[in-house]
Structures are given as C-alpha cells and as structure tokens.
C-alpha cells in the first residue's frame, strides 16, 4: 500500500510537467507567428491593414493547403517528397484543361487524388519506404507537368480568379480560409473518433491492427486526403498567379514539411497539430515580407526559412528538456 501511494505521489509532478510541456509546445507556433507579426508592425505598421495583410498572406493559402496535405501523410509516419511537383501538375491542369474543358479537367484532378490514395495503399501493401516511393512520384508528376505545359503559360479559369480575389468583409480572405481550414482539420483529426483511429495508425499501428482496424484503409484515406489538399493548393495557387508553369510548385515540398514541423508536428508517432500547421505555413509566408521590410536581399529568403525552423526546434528542445526535469 505504502509503495503504491508513494508511486502515485511521484507520478503527479511528472503529469503536471507533461501538461506544461504540451501547452508550451502548443503555444510555440503562435509565439513564432506573433514574433514575425510584431517585427512587421514595428518596421511598417501600415502593412498590417486589411489590404496589407491580404497582399502578404494570399500566397499563404496554397502553402497552408500544401502543409495540410503533408500533415495527413506525416500523421501516418510517412513523408511525401512529391507534393511540390504534384502541385505543379495540378497547376498545369488547372491553367489548361480546367478552363477549356471543365469536365475533362475535373476528371484528371480526381484521377490525381485517386493516384495518391492508391499510393497509400501500395506503400502499406508492399511495406515500401514512402520517401523512395514519393521520390519516384516526384519525377512522375514533374514529367507530367512538363508534358502538359512545356512552356510557362496557360490561364486560370475566370471563376477561380474571382473566387480567390474575393473581398471578405472585415477580415482578409487568407485569414478566413486559414481559420476555416485549421478548425475543420483540427476537429476532424483531433476530436472525432475516426480521427483518433487515423492518428493511431501513426501512433501505434500494432495496437490498432490488434483492435481490428484495417491499416491499409487508414493509409489510403490519409494519402487520398493529401491528394485532395494538394489539388486545393494547386487550385488556389493558380487562382493567385493566373498562369502556370511546370515548376510552379517546386518549393512546396520543403515548405510543407517545414510548416508541419513549425506547427508542432512530429515525424513519427501520429503527433500532429493542424491549427499549428496553418500557423506555421503563415509564419513562413510572412517571414518573406518581414525580410523585405528589413531590406534584406531576397537571396536570404530561403535561408531565413531554415533559420526560423532551427530556432523553433531549438526552443522546442529547450522546453522538452526543462519541462522534463522535475519541477
């Protein structure tokens, strides 16, 4: 009896430190976004107006969708290196077929989502490493995009361009889209019972399998969702740029991974944070504007993204270490 009580007393602070760690980690993405926003406000207060935010954040919409696509894949312990070239491919389809022949264009985009879902199934079935499978798909989508649109060009469908340039009242569209996206995925993945199953496929696949769930189904669904959000990313991107080229989505693979990690996600264990991922995507987008206001050459744009990533991870490592030690 005595030892039991003792054990419980010992466990209590551990639990407390764990909740502290969790809330600190959840706050970290918000903190980094706030820091970037503060920097912008200090250097150029006018940028934080409706129009300024709209301008700075609108490229954050496709990044946020791409980040969400990556988040679904990372939830089941996989990594998608092909999302960037997939977005290029989607962009090329949107700027050509979707405008001239909407039915055919839609069919191709749906086929793309099906290919993604199929990849999930195949990766599970063959027990193949997703890094290599999606590496193959990287070349595949890139090739398809070049075949479709050998030279930069095409034109966004009129409705798409109008939709993405919608002037929402009070709050700029990118923020509305980001908030809706974050809340919908957060609810679906973190609050519904099937969302828990989907995350469990990354957290403890063996337990899930023993409980009678089909792992192949969860992987198929998650990759299918990644394909769907990849399509949404490509759609919004072309709506913003109004024309496409075969390399338009190139940087999105790394951006999406960085967004998920910045947002508090982990590589393994099904530990993700959808709201944080959207914040992470917006932070990376705004970082570019901040550099601009600081008159730092655009040469350092990607470097700053890397540096932000390292600083956030360092902060996270610090939180983990201090919170892990008994208080």
């Amino acid at each position: 009896m005595r030892s039991l009580v003792g054990a419980r007393e010992e466990r209590l602070p551990l639990n407390a430190s764990r909740t502290l760690r969790r809330s600190l980690r959840a706050l970290l993405p918000c903190f980094s976004l706030a820091l970037v926003l503060l920097g912008i406000a200090w250097l150029n207060p006018r940028a934080l107006s409706y129009f300024g935010l709209n301008l700075m954040l609108n490229l954050g919409i496709p990044v946020a969708f791409a980040t969400m696509a990556q988040l679904f894949v990372m939830t089941v312990n996989e990594l998608d290196l092909s999302i960037g070239t997939f977005i290029s491919f989607v962009g090329c389809v949107v700027a050509t077929w979707l405008r001239t022949d909407p039915i055919w264009g839609t069919t191709i985009l749906l086929a793309g989502i099906c290919v993604y879902a199929l990849l999930g199934a195949v990766i599970h079935w063959r027990n193949a490493p997703s890094i290599v499978v999606t590496l193959g798909m990287f070349f595949f989508w890139q090739g398809m995009a070049i075949l479709l649109l050998p030279k930069p060009g095409g034109k966004a469908p009129v409705w798409l361009h109008a939709l993405i340039n919608l002037r929402t009242p009070l709050v700029p569209l990118p923020i509305v889209v980001g908030a809706v996206l974050a809340l919908v995925v957060q609810y679906g993945l973190m609050r519904t019972s099937y969302g828990a199953i989907l995350r469990g496929a990354g957290g403890n696949p063996v337990a899930l399998k023993r409980a009678g769930w089909k792992l192949i189904k969860t992987k198929t669904i998650m990759f299918g969702l990644a394909g769907l959000f990849g399509v949404l990313s490509g759609l919004t991107l072309i709506g913003l740029t109004t024309s496409a080229d075969a390399n338009i989505g190139r940087g999105y693979t790394l951006l999406s991974i960085a967004g998920v990690i910045l947002g508090g996600g982990e590589f393994v264990g099904g530990r993700v944070f959808p709201i944080g991922a959207v914040i992470g995507a917006f932070t990376l987008t705004l970082a570019g504007s901040l550099l601009n206001f600081m008159r730092i050459s655009p040469d350092w744009q990607v470097g700053a993204e890397g540096l932000i990533l390292i600083v956030v991870l360092a902060a996270r490592a610090l939180i983990n270490r201090t919170a892990a030690s008994p208080l």
């Binding site: 290599v132 499978v133 193959g136 398809m144 790394l254 393994v268 990607v302 470097g303 540096l307 990533l309």
Partner: protein, 316 residues
C-alpha cells in the same frame, strides 16, 4: 558471422547491373550498334558523380531510420562556387580550390551533425534546414559568378585513360577504399551496427555519437569534392548543379540494394544503379523522347524497383 552470411547470399544488388545492361542493349539495338562504346564510356563518367554522392548518402542512410542527408544539393552547389572562385581560372590554384571545396563540405557536414546533436532533432529536418541556409549562402556568395575552371582542371575532369574517364577510375578506387572502410574498420562496422540497432550498438561499446559525427562529416566532405569536380566537368559552377543529386543519390542507394531502414549497405550496387540511371537517360535520349517523358519514365522505374523490392523488408 551471421550478418556476413546474409550479405553473401543477398544478390539483389546484381539486378541493378542487369538493368543497366538491358537499357544499354535497348539503346544500341535502336542505333544498330552505333555509339555503343561511347555510351558506356560517357555513362561511366557521369555515373562517377552519382556514385560519389551515393556513397555519401549510403553511409548516412545506413545509420538507420530517419537518417538522410538532404543538404547535399545546396552543399554541392556552394562547393562548386567556392572552388571556382578560389581557383579563379588559374592552374596554380587548382589544389587550393579543391581543398577549399572540401573544407566547405566538411563544415557543412559538421554543422549538420551539430544541429542533430545539439537540438536532438531528426536528421532529416536538420539537414533540410541546413539545405535552406546553405542555399542562401550560395546564392549570396555566387551572385554573378562567371568563373570558368582553370584549363588544366577542366581537362583533368574530362581526361580519359584507355578511353575510360579518369574520374570514373578514381571513383572506382575510392569505392573499393570505402568498401574496406565499411566492412573492415571500426568506424564502418559501427555505422552498420548503429543502423541495425542503435541501442544495442551503444551497449556493445560502439562510440555512437562519434560514428554519427564522422558519417555526417564524410557526407558533407564528399558533397564538397563532388561540387568542385562537377564545376570542372560542366565548365563552370552553378547553384543548381547539385539539385538533381539529392534524388539521384537516394535512388542509387535504394536501387543498389542498400536497406532504406539502415544497417545493411552495398557499395557494389551503387555502380550498377548509377550506371542504370545514367544509361536509362541515354537510352531515352537516343529514342528522342521529350524531357517530360524522360522524367515520367525515370519516376516509374524508381517506383517499380522499390515496389518490387519492398516485400523483402518483411522477410527480415
């Protein structure tokens, strides 16, 4: 002993040579034998670059799940710029330029390891962030850089001995050295042991952190040297020069029979898969297909190989 037995019995790497031979055969049947030798010798020279980066990537990947060097492309690009700038087109500075590129690579590798070790973050994210930063340094450093390699250096990178590229011969010798290093030295065996089971390796007294440090530094250094050589071969540096080598190095490692989950490496297979990939491109070029088709076929081939080989992992 058991591990060595498994190594001897596993012939999966041989398929890469079969594949390389088949695509070469298809290409020369198409051209009715014309240029058969030229394809091979040209292929060998290009394959040497792939093998150099693939050796770096293979050591890293063998360290176990999550270990991959994503900073190779930026590292190669920066090193090529540094080498060209230091050489400044003068033959007298060639050695110094190569050492500068090597040094830059060493620093990159060391930096990667420090990020992994200090922040305890997955190597994939550490090297990804490093890639971002090195890329920026490279853009800033190499802006407007239009330096041609010194004539002697350019001649060296394309020189041939008995019609075989000197670079290919040098890389072949280096492959043998690295093979000995992997299977016969404490360091190499440490890499394999960590890949099989890091905790068991640590308990068995393997200097885990030191081995990781050496591996990432080795990868960085190889990337640096490769950057200098590429700049000589292609008559000038560019930041995009290393871009394709991230994917090529990983593809070579996987097709060549090295386990993606670590602990099992194969150097012989690297040459087979590098030749296979290079000759595949040569074949598609002789067929006269467009760049798009070339990429689609490359992607499908990588996909096909990994899906065909994927089942083996469950057998282990």
């Amino acid at each position: 002993m058991k591990a060595r037995g498994a190594l001897v019995r596993d012939w999966s790497w041989a398929w890469s040579y079969v594949g390389a031979f088949l695509v070469w055969l298809a290409a020369i049947i198409f051209t009715r034998g014309y240029g058969a030798g030229g394809m091979l010798t040209g292929g060998l020279a290009l394959a040497a670059f792939s093998v150099l980066t693939a050796i770096a990537q293979m050591f890293v990947i063998t360290l176990g799940p999550g270990n991959v060097d994503l900073s190779l492309p930026a590292n190669i690009g920066l090193a090529s710029a540094i080498a060209m700038k230091v050489m400044g087109g003068s033959d007298a500075m060639i050695l110094l330029g190569i050492f500068a590129a090597l040094g830059a690579g060493l620093v990159v590798g060391l930096g990667n390891y420090l990020l992994i070790w200090l922040l305890r973050i997955p190597p994939i994210i550490a090297t990804l962030s490093a890639n971002f930063i090195i890329q920026s340094v490279g853009i800033s450093y190499g802006r407007g850089l239009q330096v041609k390699p010194p004539p002697a250096f350019a001649a060296f990178t394309t020189a041939r001995f008995l019609s075989i590229s000197i670079l290919a011969i040098g890389t072949a010798v280096f492959t043998v050295v690295m093979g000995l290093c992997l299977h016969r030295t404490v360091f190499g065996r440490g890499v394999l042991a960590i890949g099989q089971n890091a905790r068991a390796a640590w308990l068995a007294g393997v200097a885990v952190e030191r081995t990781r440090l050496f591996t990432y530094t080795l990868s960085g250094a190889l990337g640096g040297v490769c950057g200098a050589l590429l700049a000589g071969y292609f008559r000038g540096s560019s930041l995009e020069i290393g871009e394709e080598y991230l994917l090529v190095s990983i593809a070579c490692v996987v097709i060549g029979g090295t386990s993606v989950t670590g602990g099992k490496a194969n150097l012989l297979g690297l040459w087979g898969s590098a030749l296979f990939l290079v000759l595949l491109l040569t074949m598609l070029n002789t067929f006269g297909v467009s760049a798009g088709v070339r990429l689609v076929v490359t992607g499908l081939v990588i996909l096909g190989v990994i899906l065909a080989a994927g089942g083996q992992k469950t057998l282990r």
